[in-house]
Amino acid sequence: MEKILVIDDDKMIRKLFSLALTKAGYNVIEAESGDAGLLLVHSERPDLVITDYQMPGKNGLEVLAEIRKLRLKLPVIMLTAYGDVVLTIKSIQQGAFEYLEKPVNPETLKSTVIKALSSVKSSNSLTTVIRTDASSESMLEDNILVGRTPQMKEIFKNIGLISMNKVNVLIQGETGTGKELIARLVHFSGITHNKPLVVVNCSALTETLLESELFGHVKGSFTDSIRDKKGKFELAGEGTIFLDEISEISLNTQVKLLRVIQELEFEKVGGELPIPMKARIIAATNRNLEEQIKLGKFREDLYYRLKVFTINLPPLRERKDDINDLVIHFLYKLNKRFNKNVTKIGDGVIEMLQQHDWHGNVRELENTLLQAIVMSKNDVLEKENIILNYRMAEPVAKYQEMSEFRTLESLEKHHIKCILDEVNWNKVEASRILDITRPTLNAKIEKYNLVQ
């Protein structure tokens, strides 16, 4: 029989809880102060502690802090007379399993007790999948790109080959598949590892600004150019320049970029002296460049210059066997970043994640796990804390399922919100998909009160 310790200086409340929980089949022990409760935590080894906050001597938070030192996993339910937001936050921050307001509804009490006890059982029955004592950075670095599926193994082999040469590389893949990680891996794993890596997001800048960013400018070449500025090609030196979202550059800039690749030299904006270009170019896109060529939006000659070697990153839905390894990798990474200790994976979690379509790919998986880790109250990644995003799946069916006719405005609001969520509120990406300018997108976000 599971043992529950109730700590409250109020005899009536102790008895009320004690009788109710005894009737529910638990062995209940009582303490009338924090100090007496802590002694019982030691001697009686309860499976769960329910403690009041406001008590003479040690208060509930102090009791919780002591319990965390004694027994890390022992779940604690905090009680108080009525709602206190600050106390709620503090309790959860310090690791309380739940916070209940008195008088506690009997059903809430019983269901919370069941959940708290089962969270420990679940934890005890599972194996730790990640080492919490991994102090070196090597694990993170070694697993920066995770995957054991044949597609990923092939990519790793290719990276091994191309990283030892300075050939240009084109990385193609959907949003969130890890194109920048591949670029970093190519750069850091080979002959360029001790040279600069310069990243340029081509979609984030206007044509004029992009040219100035890439090639630099000389003082006085345009308004506000008050001094000479080095461009990214120059800063990359003998290293790598990573041109993300290459499909977004204008045809004019494409011509200039092509010339750089052909001539291996460039001039600053407003300058005349040629500067040698020694960097390797890695370009990435989430668009099909061959289609863009057919549409006249991308130059064929530039395409072939960039795709000396092409890496096609598969979407996560085509390599679901990697999800287990990815979850372990992200648990390690996110625990470290957010000071959490979720080291076990609950039953059915991987199967549930493998059934999802992951339109946002690995980035969506990481964000989903981050949310689950933040919500977790023990050391287990539980199904109930995982919120999967189904909003982009079969949008047509969703519209058909609508029970009432909606206004154009409400549909627009819904659609913009879906797109923003899908691209993790990357407004550049969202305005590109929606085919509207960023100021227009910002105006609509404000108009519809959309929040992330």
Binding site: D10, M12, L19, K23, A81, P103, P106
Partner: protein
């Protein structure tokens, strides 16, 4: 004759919560009421003394406990006033009047609870 508060009859204690907690177990209900009859009047006296002496810090602690006690045995009519005192008795110009009202309601309810054990 029925006791009145603000012109209204003082309602009987509402034992819905206690019955739910006890899952209908009469012995359980009686036991909790017994404990309240031991502790509740002491707390109510303490509240009165604190209000009279202007000990607002202690008044806050006492009313904090009273809220749960009174709610548990269904003396719900008194609870809003107790919460008001708990929130800030220093600023209440009607503190003594409020305490007297709580006592009047509680004493009537306590007499009724005594008949149940």
């Amino acid at each position: 004759m029925d006791e009145l508060i603000n012109g209204n009859k003082i309602p009987l204690p509402d034992l819905t919560y206690l019955k739910e907690m006890a899952d209908g177990d009469e012995t359980f209900i009686r036991e909790i009421i017994k404990i309240f009859l031991e502790e509740g009047p002491v707390m109510l006296r303490s509240m009165k003394e604190c209000a009279d002496s202007g000990d607002h810090d202690r008044l806050k602690l006492v009313t904090h406990k009273l809220i749960t006690q009174l709610t548990s045995v269904g003396i719900l009519t008194a609870v809003p006033d107790v919460k008001r005192i708990n929130k800030g008795s220093r600023d209440m110009i009607d503190l003594n009047e409020t305490v007297d009202r709580i006592l009047k309601i509680s004493n009537v309810s306590i007499e009724h609870l005594k008949t149940m054990i």
